[in-house]
């Protein structure tokens, strides 16, 4: 591509009319995505603040309720998610290197990891519903009743992991959409920004979990 040609507009097929060059346009797209990720961080920040406040109020309760979570499943999920973050980064590299089949394989693996994460989360949730370790007025777990405001731990647990699970679903859908684009051959070493943005979003989903896991499971 002769995109450094300053005089005549380099005619990149994806260059919108109001941008001077594809580099500027890509820069705009990345900046926009980073800002959007910033809003996501602030969305979760509110819940983390709620966590901090109630853990401060009910320190002992949080410690004991945390034992009710399944650390094995939690750890497995952490590994699944971190692995998927690696493979999505590799998929981006593969697209940039023009290795289409490798990119498809890595992205499919990432999406399967997302499904795996949700599956394991479902097992955990199902158990919680069974024993009544639930938020607010639904809380009925007898053995934790002795701790004050034990329901609050599960309120926080379900709010944070629930919002995170929702983001996993969104991120997964984005990755499926990106995968479709790769299958259609839309993304090339010259034009890979949507793949990059999808991967960035997936990293955020991963990052949130990296904070949630120790705060909920390992206290």
């Amino acid at each position: 591509m002769s995109s450094s040609d300053g005089h005549a507009r380099a005619h990149h097929p994806h260059l919108a009319d109001h941008f001077e060059s594809i580099e500027k346009q890509d820069h705009a797209a990345r900046l926009g995505m980073w800002l959007f990720l910033g809003t996501e961080v602030l969305l979760f920040a509110g819940l983390f603040l709620g966590y901090t406040v109630y853990r401060h109020f009910y320190h002992e309760t949080f410690h004991h309720c945390s034992r009710a979570l399944n650390i094995t499943l939690g750890t497995t999920n952490t590994i699944v998610l971190i692995t998927s973050s690696l493979t999505v980064a590799l998929a981006l590299w593969a697209v940039r290197a023009g290795k289409k089949n490798l990119a498809i394989g890595l992205l499919v693996f990432t999406i399967l990891c997302a499904f795996g994460f949700l599956g394991i989360k479902y097992l955990e949730y199902a158990h919680k519903f069974e024993v009544g370790e639930l938020p607010g007025k639904w809380f009925r777990a007898e053995e934790l009743m002795q701790y004050p405001a034990a329901n609050m731990y599960f309120t926080i647990y379900f709010l944070t992991t629930g919002l995170h699970a929702f983001h996993v679903i969104v991120g997964m859908s984005v990755l499926i959409w990106v995968l479709k684009g790769i299958l259609k051959g839309r993304y090339t070493p010259d034009y890979y920004v949507p793949v990059e943005l999808g991967a960035l979003y997936w990293h955020l989903v991963d990052l949130v979990w990296i904070f949630l896991f120790p705060l909920l499971y390992l206290i």
Binding site: L35, T39, G46, L49, P135, W138, A149, N151
Partner: protein, 552 residues
């Protein structure tokens, strides 16, 4: 060029022309509007929408004022009254003031002022308009049919336990938040990536700086109100107990969440207005803006400090004395940055060739309101004083001085200053002066008595009040009728101007703003040829177009 009517007069030799092809008539049909990606058309659709909601919110305001005409029941029952002030607050804040200047004038002018063809993400821009319509419909329908009576503040635990429906309103606010975030994000990226060649940061007009600072707040604060209203919704439907003290929850936590957004939101409303003033005052005084950099940086300063001031809403909510003191001091810094702007605006007027027109009347009104509103802001930020004034009409009057006084003056200046830009027509200057006087005087008559009533102890949001406050309330209601009258006059002469107004020409104010360097109304692609910026902004003292009367 010796006639006395100063700035709005035309260059005598050439008759102003209306561009045959412009963004208004380049494409035709309803689809070309609803599916447009042109930032100017999106701005006009915002314009129509926010004006509609301003009318709706204004009608609710008048209903409240009429109810408070007498100490007892006047025209409505107590429940209706509660619903009225909720409707008034939600509509005016979320549907009018937050999108008003960024949505209309930000959209229309930001790309023009940067010398760009459009905003960075035109589709996202259209999406944010549709999200605005969706959120507005949800919120208003929810309040009208569900009878929300919580006030716009939605304080828990009342909002989570009231028998009235709250969910559609919080869902509406959530969607509106998305709209606001996308607009802010778009503007930030536009400012970073679409500046024309030669447009350095220090050459951006002050309106751009203000919109940029506003966008930062929109992007960083709005997610938190999204989360907050989501939690209220979950709480109301699911009973998660997050703000319910009987389940170990903390209602004050709600207030922290709420004000973390809603205090900076005040600056989402007022910063764009300050930007409008900065641009218009230079054109009215025909003088370079005094202290350009200070005005630009103080916008960023307000945006920054505004994030750490929210606790001043909770002086009587059981915050620790240390926190109260800290939040008080931080809040006062907002006053410092605002004062920097005010001094610079006054410095701009000083020895300028001031055109005495409607814009100038509004600017004077604005300066008075921002100083008075700002000074009472320092007063209510003082903990010991606020304990007395908290939740009284004193606070109502204070924030109306900022939100109506400053913001709506800015909005009106923007409408008048850029009306020729947007539509290529001129409005009637005489009627504009008349209505401006009505509005400034009406505003003073409406809200000064509220300061007095509040100081004497009249609480806000009460349906009935003791006999002794009646005189002040009658004065306030009388003032609000003056205000309403002023707005009706504006509506009439602007509609008249739209239909049969004189053709304005490209630059009727002889302004040096970059948005005036194209035709009025602009071409679909803004500038017909690529532009290069070679001058600092607001350069009124450069040689060039003659100034009508002499600077002493």
């Amino acid at each position: 060029m010796s006639q006395s009517s100063p700035v709005a007069s035309q260059p005598s030799e050439n008759k102003p022309v209306y561009p045959a092809v412009n963004y208004l008539n380049a494409d035709r049909g309803i689809r070309s509007w609803l599916l447009t990606l042109d930032h100017k058309r999106i701005a006009l659709m915002y314009f129509a929408s926010v004006l509609f909601f301003f009318l709706v919110g204004g009608i609710f305001a008048m209903a409240i004022r009429l109810e408070l005409l007498t100490p007892g029941p006047t025209i409505m029952g107590a429940n209706t009254y509660n619903r009225m002030f909720t409707l008034h607050g939600v509509v005016m804040i979320f549907l009018f003031m937050i999108p008003a200047i960024p949505g209309v004038f930000g959209n229309f002018l930001l790309p023009l002022m940067l010398g760009a063809k459009d905003v960075a993400f035109p589709k996202l821009n259209l999406l944010s308009l549709y999200l605005y319509w969706t959120g507005a419909t949800l919120a208003v329908a929810g309040m009208v049919m569900g009878g929300t009576d919580t006030g716009w503040t939605l304080y828990a635990p009342y909002s989570t336990t009231t028998p009235m429906t709250v969910f559609p309103v919080v869902l509406g606010i959530f969607v509106l938040g998305f709209s606001s975030i996308l607009t802010g994000l778009n503007f930030i990226v536009t400012t970073h990536t679409l500046r024309a060649p030669g447009m350095t940061w220090m050459r951006m007009q002050l309106f751009v700086w203000a919109i940029y600072a506003t966008s930062i707040i929109q992007v960083l604060a709005t997610p938190v109100i999204g989360l907050t209203v989501m939690l209220v919704g979950i709480e109301k439907i699911g009973g998660f107990g997050l703000f319910d003290a009987t389940k170990g929850g903390d209602p004050v936590l709600f207030q922290h969440f709420f004000w973390f957004y809603s205090h900076p939101a005040v600056y989402i409303m007022v910063l764009p207005s300050m930007g409008v003033i900065s641009d218009a005052i230079a054109a009215v005084a025909r003088k370079n803006v005094f202290g350009y950099k200070m005005i630009a940086y103080s916008s960023l300063g307000i945006a920054f400090v505004g994030f750490f001031a929210w606790g001043h809403h909770m002086f009587v909510s059981g915050q620790s004395p240390f926190d109260n003191g800290a939040f008080a001091v931080i809040s006062m810094f907002v006053g410092v940055f605002t004062a920097i702007k005010v001094f610079n605006w006054v410095g701009t007027l000083y020895r300028g060739a001031i055109a005495v027109n409607a814009l100038f009347v509004y600017i004077c009104g604005f300066l008075f309101f921002i100083v008075f509103g700002g000074m009472t802001g320092i007063a209510v930020a003082t903990v010991s004083l606020d304990v007395h004034w908290h939740d009284t009409y004193f606070v109502v009057a204070h924030f109306h001085f900022i939100m109506v006084g400053a913001v709506i003056m800015g909005f009106l200046i923007a409408i008048h200053y850029w009306f020729p830009k947007m539509f290529g027509k001129k409005y009637h200057e005489g009627w504009a002066m008349v209505s401006a006087s009505f509005i400034v005087l009406g505003f003073i008559t409406t809200f000064i008595p509220q300061f007095l009533a509040g100081n004497a102890g009249m609480p806000r949001r009460y349906y009935m009040y003791p006999e002794r406050f009646q005189a002040l309330n009658v004065a306030s209601t009388a003032g609000s009728s003056l205000l309403a009258f002023g707005f009706i006059i504006i509506a009439i002469y602007l509609i008249y101007a739209l239909m049969r107004g004189e053709i304005a020409g490209d630059n009727p104010w002889h302004s040096r703003g970059i948005e005036w360097m194209t035709t009025s109304p602009p071409d679909k692609h803004n500038f017909t040829k690529p532009i290069v910026i070679t001058q600092d902004p607001h350069t009124y003292q450069e040689p060039g177009e003659e100034v009508e009367h002499v600077v002493i």
